[in-house]
């Protein structure tokens, strides 16, 4: 019996798909054997490469797909039989598809959703005002959804998903395609929402920046199996994830080897552009940059985050 504090619980969850491969029929195992437990108020990052089974898992959590194996319970309910009741407790933001009505103004979509979730007029007004203010929707409330920029649309989507104050919010690639500023604002909003209402967050993403700034806990899935369940710090330790500082120099310089706490990865253009890897647990980009001060004149720089594929590969390698 799950206590109300358990928001998601799966036991041996698995899902297969039958795929037609020319003439033959193949079985593709999208999710192998997933067992996890998420308690109320947690903020979980669910990361993995494309095709690793993230979307399938979310569909099983929300009652869209029936599991092939195992059990799943979301907010104490069984997703498929209790779908309609579950819909009142869960809000989902899809990065790639919309929950809003394409040719209607944002305000109209929110009004319809309030009716769909049977919000009383007082609750509707208060919640809408709160979301409009905190997500800064006021400027484009009257604009049809199809005319919004991606950043604006994502904010409207988040408002739509949170209108009925769900206990669990699932976000599927919410920051994909957004510019740096929009990403930051969205992340800040989600952090605040958790703090104010104790909402549980489950976030699938490719963006390690999302993970770092939003998630307490990381679930890493590779080809349908859970390969890591822990904190970001733990992941970094396991994986030794590095950031890469890319510097453009004023003139071709010899390889910048021997920089404290940094590893020289490579040079381009005869030494005009050089890549240095460093461990963010040990040092910062600023310090590495500082260490270069005497040796070369830096005219431009960039910091690369490790991408999810890289992390996954390293986890796999570390497990062997």
């Amino acid at each position: 019996m799950s206590t109300p504090r358990t928001i998601v619980e799966t036991e041996g969850l698995g899902r297969d798909f039958k795929v037609r491969d020319g003439v033959r029929r193949r079985t593709v195992v999208a999710v192998v054997d997933l067992s996890l437990r998420i308690t109320a108020g947690e903020s979980v990052g669910y990361i993995g490469a494309n095709g690793a089974g993230k979307s399938t898992t979310i569909k099983m959590l929300t009652g869209i797909l029936v599991p092939t194996r195992g059990t799943v319970s979301t907010c104490g309910l069984r997703p498929v039989p209790d779908r309609k009741r579950l819909a009142r407790e869960v809000g989902v933001v899809f990065g790639q598809r919309t929950q809003l009505w394409w040719d209607l103004p944002v305000r109209e979509s929110l009004r319809i959703l309030a009716a769909i979730h049977s919000l009383g007029s007082v609750a509707e007004r208060e919640r809408t005002d709160e979301l409009v203010e905190r997500l800064e929707l006021a400027d484009f409330l009257a604009t049809p959804v199809r005319q919004l920029s991606l950043g604006q649309r994502m904010r409207a989507e988040v408002a739509a998903a949170l209108l009925h104050s769900p206990r669990l919010v699932i976000l599927d690639e919410p920051t994909i395609g957004l510019d740096v500023l929009s990403k930051q604002r969205l992340r800040e909003f989600l952090v605040a929402e958790r703090r104010l209402h104790g909402t549980t967050l489950l976030l699938t993403t490719h963006d390690m920046g999302d993970v770092e700034r939003l998630c307490d806990r990381i679930l890493l899935v590779d080809r349908g199996s859970l390969v890591f369940d822990g904190t970001l710090a733990g992941l970094s330790r396991t994986v030794g994830a590095e950031r890469v500082l890319v510097v453009d120099l004023a003139e071709p310089t010899a390889d910048l080897a021997g920089v404290p706490d940094a590893r020289h990865l490579g040079s381009e253009g005869g030494g005009l552009r050089q890549r240095l890897a460093f461990d963010p647990e040990v040092t910062t980009a600023a310090r590495v940059l500082g260490a270069l001060a005497g040796r070369a004149e830096v005219v431009d720089l960039a910091v690369e985050e490790p991408d999810v594929e890289d992390v996954v590969r390293r986890v796999y390698a570390a497990r062997r």
Binding site: R15, F17, K59, T62, G63, I64, L65, V66, P67, T68, V80, R83, K84, R85, A87, R88, V90, G91, V92, F94, Q96, R97, T98, Q99, W101, D103, L104, E108, R111, I112, A115, I116, H117, S118
Partner: protein, 270 residues
């Protein structure tokens, strides 16, 4: 009553917005109306051309067949108005809209049905009404409570039956890939068959459009009963009153197909 209003509020809200959206595209809307009207007229003309060369076909003369056309076409247009978008399910699947339906605390089919409304079918309905009125005027209708009751029953059942056809087609599309044309055969073929005297049908047609998809019950049989005309050998005169039964059967078929389709989509059965 207040509870009913509250419960239907989300559905009414979506439909109202679709109506507003369609009316706002002024020029396109008028063009769509005109096209629906013209297409309806051409189909009526087709019937007229055949019947003016033969005077009587399958027990119906031109006046009677106009009445059959009117009842069938009107019922179909009204059903198309509310349910016509249901057989475009693949569009919803591709856009991921169906998955969004899962996330709302409402039945899937009800969300699909209320997600859109095709106002331009009203023009087509106008053709049906005109044919119906003409048919009633041209024929020797024994007016009275019986006639009015029979006609009303036929129309309501006809709308329900055709609506069920659209839902059936939607459910079937879960199984078919790019299957719109296959279901069109029975949805639009069904509409065509409903405007015909069923007495000319061969046995396979009788099975398909007389019983499986009960098109003959939407207009032909009620009119035959109304006008006291000889019906086909396999159908006694009073069957015109069984239109509601046909509608129930059609809906049973539609709902079973829909549920099977949804289960197929979700990949489970238990």
């Amino acid at each position: 009553m207040a509870d009913l209003r509250a419960r239907t509020a989300p559905y009414r809200a979506v439909l109202a917005s679709r109506v507003r959206a369609q009316r706002s595209y002024r020029a396109n809307f008028l063009l769509d109306l005109t096209s629906s009207l013209l297409v309806g007229l051409v189909e009526l003309a087709e019937v007229w051309v055949v019947f003016r060369s033969v005077h009587s076909l399958g027990g119906l003369d031109l006046a009677a067949v106009v009445l059959v056309f009117g009842v069938a076409d009107l019922a179909f247009s009204l059903a198309d108005l509310g349910f016509g978008h249901c057989d475009t399910l693949p569009t919803y699947l591709r856009a991921g809209t169906l998955d969004v339906f899962y996330l709302r605390p409402q039945p899937l089919l009800l969300q699909l049905v209320t997600s859109d409304i095709s106002l331009r079918r009203l023009a087509r309905a106008a053709v049906g009404i005109a044919a119906l009125v003409a048919g009633l005027a041209l024929n020797d209708v024994p007016w009275g409570a019986r006639a009015v009751g029979l006609l009303a029953l036929a129309l309501v059942s006809g709308v329900a039956t055709f609506a069920a056809m659209f839902v059936w087609a939607g459910g079937a599309q879960f199984f078919l890939v790019d299957g719109a044309e296959a279901t069109n055969a029975f949805v639009y073929g069904g509409r065509y068959s409903a405007t015909q005297p069923a007495s000319v049908w061969t046995r396979p047609l009788v099975v398909v459009f007389g019983f499986v998809f009960p098109m003959a019950f939407t207009a032909y049989l009620p009119v035959v009963t109304l006008l006291g005309l000889p019906g086909p050998a396999w159908m006694p005169a009073w069957l015109g009153w069984c239109a509601p039964l046909a509608a129930l059967w059609a809906w049973a078929l539609a709902l079973v197909t829909w549920r099977a389709g949804v289960r197929h989509y979700q990949g489970g059965g238990g």
